[in-house]
Every structure is written in structure tokens, then in C-alpha cells.
């Protein structure tokens, strides 16, 4: 059944390729061992400069991006970048499995044989030793260990005070204004069918979903994969098929190596975005999540508590048990 589903998603992605218009294709410059980054964005122009800066520093060699109907000029900015290949579409994000169909096609076309990082523009990937070892070191080590996929927890970051007061400016590191997080309120269960862990919790679950925890957003992701053209992500990057790729955790008590995606969603652009996305209803569950944020005072929440932790570095996350070095030393 899962094989059928995988075929179906692939076929669908192949069909949806027609929705993509090539804007700038620099993929000929991709070398065999290059690390690729796949990303869909919409009206994120303000975030793009730092996004590129961060991932270039981590050692991403080429960005493969889809612009979904931006009106803020972010697409033009991205197209100018020498290491970006850009496609564009005005089709529905929701109908394209929240952008996954487009990326699945591009991954099939360009990702085969590469380590591929799939993230959103507001997600910053950290992993053990990321301050001293580039992504290629992680990729090489995973290759040598016969590991094909790498798991990460989405860690929601927020400012100390109302979100609207965390004023973000283009080019700025969002962690300068929003660097607090919840360290120990994550709830995990196992999805037997897809074999992935289902992680919920963090600031979003306690602040927005305390009454309806089953609807709290999933925080488990498999963002870094040695791509093969047979693979496909299922629901955002929470799950990937074949399902063996979701086994990024140890079941006998040991710790596998894992990372975190620092999620800098809660900055001053958040309130407007929540309202816009709630009306658009293009996100998962018809934008239920955004509906929840946009309601009343919650469009400008203050997520900070006296138990919030301030982000320092990956070693702090390791001590807190939010990522693990595993066997990588």
C-alpha cells in the first residue's frame, strides 16, 4: 500500500511540474558532491538575505527554490543569487500538497545522489558540531555509516515580550530578536504505519492548542536526506517514503545522531501573516493552525515564561536532550 502511495505522490508531482515556470535555472553548475537545499516560499523577501547567508555558511552549494506567487519582490532577489535556481508558480499551495508536489518533482529531477536539505525560509538547521563542521562533514559521515536520512526537531523560538515587538529587518539574524524556547514539554508517540515519531508540544502546543492537543502541529522532521529519485516526502518533511527513512531514532535505548530546526516564526511579521494565511486557507487542515493564531489576542501572543530557555548553541540543546551527538564524536 505504501509503495502505491509513493508511486501516486510521484506521479502527481510529475503532473504538477507543468505548474512550474522556470525563472532561472543554474542547475548545470551543480557538482557531483554538492549539498542542495530545496525550499518553497511566498512573500518572504524580508527573510531571504539572512536565509541565504546562514545556509551558505553551513555549506549549502546550491539552492533549488519555488516561488509561490510572491508580490514583495523576493522572487527577483532570489533569482539574482548566483547559487539559486528558481521556479515560479501561482497555482494553489494547498492543492500541491503544501508545495511538496513541486519540490518532489524538482528533487526527482536534480536531487538524485545528493545530500538534500529541505527547509522553510524561517527554519534554521542546527546539528552536532554545526559551528565547526560544515554540512559536507555531516553528509560524509552519514555516508560512511550507511545512514540515508537525518532527523530533527522543530524548535519554536519566540521573543521575550509580545511577538509584534520583535521588529525584524531584512538581513538581520532573527535569533537576535527571538531566541527563547521551551526545553522540556514535548510529547512523542510512534506512527506504526509510517514508522516515524510524531512529536508535538513546545510553545505552540501550550499556548494555542492546550484544549485541542491532537491538532497541535507536528514537530518531527526528516530534513536532510541522501536523495534518491525513488524517494518522496509525504506530509511536508515530517515523513518520507520509503518508510525506512523515517527510522531516525533508536528503539533500544541508544541515541542516534540528530539535529534541530530553529523555527523563527514568531517575529513581528507573524500577526499579519497569520491573518493572511487564515483567510487563504491554503495550509494544512485548511489553515486551522493559522485560524487558531489569528483569533483575537492570539495574533499578538506573548509566549515567554520564566521557564523559557535562551538559545546559546547546539551544545546547550544537546545537554537539554533536544538533539544528540549520538555516535558522532
Amino acid at each position: 500500500m505504501l509503495r502505491l502511495q509513493r508511486r501516486r505522490w510521484k506521479l502527481r508531482a510529475f503532473r504538477k511540474r507543468r505548474e512550474l515556470d522556470g525563472v532561472k535555472n543554474r542547475t548545470a553548475a551543480i557538482k557531483p558532491d554538492d549539498i542542495l537545499l530545496f525550499c518553497t516560499f511566498r512573500n518572504e523577501g524580508i527573510r531571504l538575505p539572512y536565509f541565504f547567508e546562514y545556509y551558505r555558511k553551513q555549506g549549502v552549494d546550491h539552492f533549488i527554490m519555488v516561488n509561490n506567487g510572491s508580490t514583495d519582490g523576493g522572487d527577483a532577489y532570489a533569482a539574482e543569487q548566483p547559487d539559486v535556481s528558481l521556479w515560479s508558480t501561482d497555482a494553489s499551495y494547498g492543492d500541491a500538497r503544501y508545495g511538496m508536489d513541486w519540490l518532489t518533482y524538482l528533487q526527482w529531477r536534480y536531487g538524485h545522489g545528493h545530500w538534500a536539505l529541505t527547509v522553510d525560509v524561517d527554519e534554521f538547521f542546527v546539528y552536532p558540531f554545526c559551528d565547526t563542521r560544515p554540512l559536507a562533514a555531516l553528509g560524509d559521515w552519514l555516508d560512511a555509516s550507511d545512514i540515508r536520512s537525518f532527523g530533527a526537531l522543530i524548535l519554536d523560538l519566540y521573543p521575550q515580550g509580545p511577538v509584534s515587538e520583535a521588529k525584524y529587518e531584512s538581513g538581520m539574524d532573527p535569533l537576535e530578536i527571538a531566541n527563547w524556547f521551551d526545553a522540556g514539554n514535548y510529547m512523542i508517540s510512534r506512527n506504526k504505519r509510517m514508522r516515524n515519531l510524531w512529536i508535538q508540544g513546545g510553545a505552540r502546543a501550550r499556548a494555542f492548542f492546550a484544549d485541542t492537543p491532537e491538532k497541535a502541529p507536528a514537530l518531527n522532521k526528516v530534513p536532510f536526506v541522501k536523495w534518491d529519485r525513488r524517494y518522496t516526502y509525504v506530509s511536508s518533511t515530517h515523513m518520507v517514503l520509503p518508510r525506512g527513512l523515517n527510522l531516525v531514532y533508536d528503539q533500544q535505548g541508544g541515541e542516534k545522531t540528530s539535529g534541530a530546526l530553529l523555527h523563527a516564526k514568531f517575529i513581528n511579521t507573524f500577526g499579519d501573516r497569520a491573518k493572511e494565511e487564515a483567510t487563504r486557507g491554503e495550509h494544512y487542515g485548511d489553515g486551522h493552525e493559522y485560524q487558531q493564531y489569528a483569533d483575537g489576542a492570539e495574533a499578538d501572543p506573548n509566549l515567554w515564561t520564566k521557564w523559557s530557555e535562551q538559545y546559546l548553541n547546539w551544545r546547550q540543546l544537546e545537554v537539554l536532550g533536544l538533539l544528540s551527538k549520538g555516535n558522532w564524536a
Binding site: S145, A183, N185, A329
Partner: protein, 566 residues
């Protein structure tokens, strides 16, 4: 010069070239073997790049697949070539293209010069070496391994199974005692030529050709037959992980490598530019030679293996989710579950916290209205919410988070039959749980409520049923928690012994006799109330036997021992 080097190069040939230049620069002649997997064009370029060095020779190329004979054959030929062309050599050092000399070659030469007769080769018998891949230790010498473990794992495993089933056993050549050890050795010319010129070498070679991972056993075994002085350790710092795969060194290992004072390290990540820039570094002082000391590096890598295999107990995360938590426990540290005490003792939580010198004593964490954290706050450590729906969505994670977030601070909380009961099994199977129960204590709040008797009766029956079910779980053979159950009647008669053991448990040290006794709730008339319930047909059997007239029951101090379930 007294030392020659054999280099086995596989990938990252530019780095291999860099290492070779270091060796030659230090005056050592080098014979290079390049894996046959490297394509001819790349090989030619490599040979050209080194053509300016007349101390470098290339030996005949073999296909070197991990764990196969090719590596040994390559080493044999390269070593023979090296010794033939340089009769002055006293020691031969085996290194790879991913090896980096950490100290000047001259320091290695001095070190070996002072130990002219010593063979440095890690070599121990299979009984003593636990690091084996695939669970094969002795069997790697008694079975045949014609298939590649890397490329044809299934056929490999299947063929091993068949041989095990058929009780197949190869005969080990006479005189040979299998030894294993690090592939990277440094042998004296005398020992090495004795190995290569051994009249029985064809027999040995034929045998080892089908042994699994012969590069870790051929020289290690045969050297035992010829050497006069073996020092069983490698001069190359090379660490292996739990899968038998070498750890790689990166820029951030600079300090660790430096501290190790080893002569050579393997494997260096080809793009660790900084390491290639700063090493080799001199260690010797004018009047003192410094020997290798890899113990701190050993510790770092041993920790990595522990983390990968055992992990941190009580941690649930994206890369650790034990599905065998019945066996290994669900929490990080001991904690106390207290049931019924708040009913019998006035302001029990405050008293306990004070008596234990500021112990963390929560209220009913699993109460229906909310989680009553010790400071009565809505958000507690780690961002845990007091919201009951959120807590009951995954009570197991709620508890394991609480204990994980407060490692180092003993947690105690109240529990009772009015609380969420779904975590009973989890606590029962958790060897960190210390559960103390005054059974039937829930009756007191009903007794004090003075409500409609028929409602009380119904509620009493409900609570008794819940507590009874809980006690049944705690008495099951699967229970690993430390459980202490005492009936209300017994507790009222002699409370101090139970309280003392709880205080000891929380303060985690033996405590002097309790200075201040807690104030007990007045229970005058409870005996009569219980009798009334009995008369109505509801038998409160969990409370124990109260005399009908309980007016001065608290003054009766008989030495009743609480019974331990486990």
C-alpha cells in the same frame, strides 16, 4: 634513515600526497599502494604529482575492498618492495593516505631508535577483544567469507547461517593462534621479513584469504610466531565506533589530537584544512622524549559509543524513543508518589517540604482540574503546562518530562483515586518510582464533607473501586516500583515510621529523627461513619479496621509495621 613507510591510499589522493611529502620531508622512504578502484587517469595524475620525490615508489595495485584479502596482499608486496630497495631500514610503519603525522617524523625516528627490537602491533586473542562487527569473533577464523559484507550483506549473512547450521569449521593451520588488532602497525625489519619469508607462508596466505577482515588479523597473528618483543599497541591514534568503522577527526579535534601526543592519527577528514595546516607539531623537549598518551581521546570516543548504545535514561527525543521502556525504565531519576497523606495530615505538602530541607513536593499533578505544581504556577520547568487536557493527552510524557527537566532534584507529588489513572501501569513498571499509599484515606474527605449520605456512599464505592484496581496493578509481578502500602487504620495508629522513610527517600540521605511531627486531621466519629457505610451495604475494606469508637485513636501508639508489597 631507520624508518620506512608503506602508505595505502584509497581516496582523497591530494591529502595522501600531502602526507607522503611530510614523510619524505622527514627523511623516510615511502612505498605507496593505490587502490585499484581509483581510475587510471586519477592514478597517473597522482604519480605525476609525486614524480619530484625520488624516495617514493609505487607498488603493484590490488583491489582493496573493506574486510577482504586485497589489503593484506597490497601490504605484503609494498613492504617487500620497501625492504628490498632500502636495506638500511630498521622499522617499517604502515599508514594510510588518510593518516596525518601529528609530530615531526624525526621524533618518531628517535622514539623507534630507542626501541630497536620492539614491534608495535596491537594483537590480542579473540577471547579478549570485544569489538566485533556482526557478532563474529572466533568465527571469523573458522568460517569462510567469500562474499562482501558491504555490498552483499544478505548473501554474507545467509552463507554464515548455512555454515553455522552445518557446523562447518575450517581447520586453523597448526601453530597459528588467531590474534586481532588495529590494522596500523610498525614492525621491525627482522620480524617483517620473517613474516614475508616464512616457508609456510603459502599455507598461511591460503588460510587467511578466506578469513573475515584479514587486515586486522594476518600480521597480528603471524607476528606472534616471529617477534621477540611485541608491544601490543598501535602508534597510530585510530578509534573505532560500535560498528567497527573508524572515527574521523575534524578541525575541532585539534586540542584532543594535540593532547594525545601520538605520532600519527587516522582518519582525518579530507577537508579538515586546519589540521593539515598546523600538524605536525614538535613535542620533545631538549632533554626529554614524550611518549604517546591517547587516554583522553579514548575517553571521548568511548563516551560516544555509550551514548549510541545506552543513551541517556529517561530521555525521549527525535532520535531516542525506546520501545522497550518496560525493561529500561521511563524516567531519568527516582521520584516519590504519595497517596492519601494530604487527607490525613494538615498541610502535608508544606510540612514535607520543610522537613526534607526544601524538597520539591507537588500537589496532585494528575488532578482533574489542573496539574498542581509545587509553586502553584500555570507553567513549570521546561515549559510544562498545568492544563489537564494537554497533560492527559500524553500522561506518560508528562511524567517523564517532569523528571527529565528536574534531574538532580528529587520530585514528589500527590496522587489519588480522583486523579488520572492512565499512568498507573507506567509508574508500576518504573524502577525509579517510590510509591507510598495510605489505602482508604480518600474516605476522610467524604467523612468531613457532611453531604447527602446516599451520594457519599456512591462516591465511596467509586473511589474504592479505583484504588483497588490500582493496588492490583502494584501487586502484579511486572511491578518494578518500590511500593509501600499501609491502611488508613494502621497509619493513624503509628504514622511516624512511614513518614520517616518517605522523608529519607526524598532527602536521599538518612535523616535524624523527625524534629517536628505533623498535625493529624481530627477523625473523631470516623469509626461510626464507617459502620454506617457498612450498614448501608458498602464495605470500606481498604481503610483497615477502625474501632467503632475512635475518639482517642491517635493516642494509641502500637508498633505496627507497614507492610511492603515489594
Amino acid at each position: 634513515m631507520n624508518v620506512g613507510v608503506v602508505i595505502l591510499a584509497h581516496t582523497a589522493l591530494q591529502r595522501a600526497e600531502q602526507a607522503i611529502r611530510l614523510w619524505v620531508g622527514g627523511g623516510c622512504p615511502v612505498v605507496v599502494h593505490v587502490d585499484k578502484k581509483v581510475d587510471q587517469k586519477e592514478y597517473n595524475a597522482f604519480v605525476d604529482a609525486l614524480s619530484d620525490l625520488d624516495q617514493v615508489q609505487f607498488s603493484k595495485r590490488h583491489l582493496c575492498e573493506w574486510g577482504t584479502w586485497g589489503l593484506v596482499a597490497a601490504t605484503q608486496e609494498a613492504a617487500a618492495l620497501l625492504m628490498d630497495s632500502h636495506p638500511e631500514l630498521r622499522h617499517i610503519y604502515l599508514a594510510s593516505g588518510a593518516c596525518l603525522p601529528l609530530r615531526p617524523v624525526s621524533e618518531l625516528c628517535d622514539y623507534l631508535d630507542a626501541r630497536r627490537e620492539t614491534d608495535f602491533i596491537e594483537s590480542s586473542t579473540t577471547e579478549d577483544v570485544p569489538w566485533t562487527v556482526g557478532g563474529l569473533d572466533q568465527e571469523r577464523f573458522t568460517l569462510r567469507f567469500p562474499f562482501s559484507w558491504r555490498r552483499h550483506r544478505r548473501i554474507f549473512d545467509f552463507y554464515v547461517k548455512i555454515q553455522q547450521f552445518a557446523r562447518f569449521k575450517r581447520r586453523i593451520p597448526t601453530g597459528v593462534v588467531p590474534h586481532m588488532g588495529s590494522q596500523w602497525w610498525c614492525l621491525t625489519r627482522r620480524t617483517l621479513s620473517a613474516i614475508l619469508n616464512d616457508p609456510k607462508r603459502p599455507t598461511y596466505d591460503r588460510y587467511f584469504r578466506k578469513v573475515w577482515i584479514p587486515d586486522e588479523s594476518y600480521f597480528q597473528t603471524i607476528a606472534r610466531l616471529h617477534s621477540t618483543k611485541i608491544e601490543s599497541r598501535s602508534l597510530t591514534l585510530s578509534k573505532f565506533d560500535f560498528q567497527g568503522k573508524p572515527h574521523v577527526f575534524y578541525n575541532d579535534h585539534k586540542a584532543l589530537l594535540r593532547r594525545s601526543a601520538c605520532f600519527v592519527a587516522r582518519k582525518i577528514w579530507p577537508r579538515a584544512d586546519e589540521l593539515y595546516k598546523i600538524f605536525p607539531l614538535p613535542y620533545n623537549k631538549p632533554d626529554e622524549q614524550v611518549g604517546p598518551n591517547p587516554s583522553s581521546a579514548d575517553r571521548v570516543f568511548a563516551n560516544a559509543v555509550d551514548r549510541r548504545i545506552l543513551g541517556r535514561p529517561g530521555l525521549y527525543m527525535q532520535s531516542r524513543y525506546p520501545t522497550i521502556d518496560d525493561e529500561i525504565g521511563v524516567t531519568a531519576a527516582p521520584y516519590s508518589v504519595l497517596q492519601g497523606f494530604t487527607e490525613v495530615i494538615d498541610d502535608f505538602e508544606a510540612w514535607l517540604s520543610k522537613t526534607t530541607g526544601g524538597g520539591v513536593v507537588h500537589g496532585h499533578l494528575f488532578a482533574p482540574d489542573r496539574a498542581h505544581f509545587c509553586d502553584n504556577s500555570a507553567i513549570y520547568t521546561g515549559g510544562m503546562s498545568d492544563h489537564p487536557t494537554l497533560r492527559d493527552y500524553n500522561p506518560k510524557m508528562f511524567l517523564s518530562n517532569l523528571i527529565w527537566n528536574n534531574r538532580g532534584k528529587h520530585q514528589a507529588f500527590q496522587f489519588g483515586p480522583r486523579d488520572t489513572q492512565t499512568i498507573n501501569w507506567m509508574m508500576a513498571k518504573d524502577s525509579n518510582a517510590r510509591i507510598s499509599i495510605v489505602s482508604g484515606a480518600w474516605i476522610i474527605s467524604l467523612f468531613l464533607a457532611r453531604e447527602e449520605f446516599s451520594d457519599l456512599r456512591k462516591e465511596a464505592a467509586r473511589l474504592q473501586k479505583i484504588e483497588h484496581a490500582q493496588l492490583k496493578i502494584l501487586r502484579s509481578p511486572f511491578t518494578k516500583a518500590r511500593v509501600r502500602v499501609i491502611t488508613l487504620a494502621e497509619f493513624v495508629r503509628s504514622p511516624m515510621e512511614t513518614l520517616e522513610s518517605i522523608v529519607d527517600e526524598i532527602s536521599e540521605q538518612p535523616h535524624p529523627r523527625l524534629a517536628e511531627a505533623p498535625t493529624m486531621v481530627k477523625l473523631d466519629g470516623l469509626g461510626a461513619f464507617l459502620q454506617d457505610l457498612r450498614n448501608q451495604g458498602m464495605h470500606p475494606f481498604l481503610t483497615g479496621e477502625f474501632p467503632k469508637n475512635t475518639d482517642n485513636v491517635t493516642s494509641v501508639q502500637t508498633q505496627q509495621k507497614p507492610y511492603l508489597v515489594r
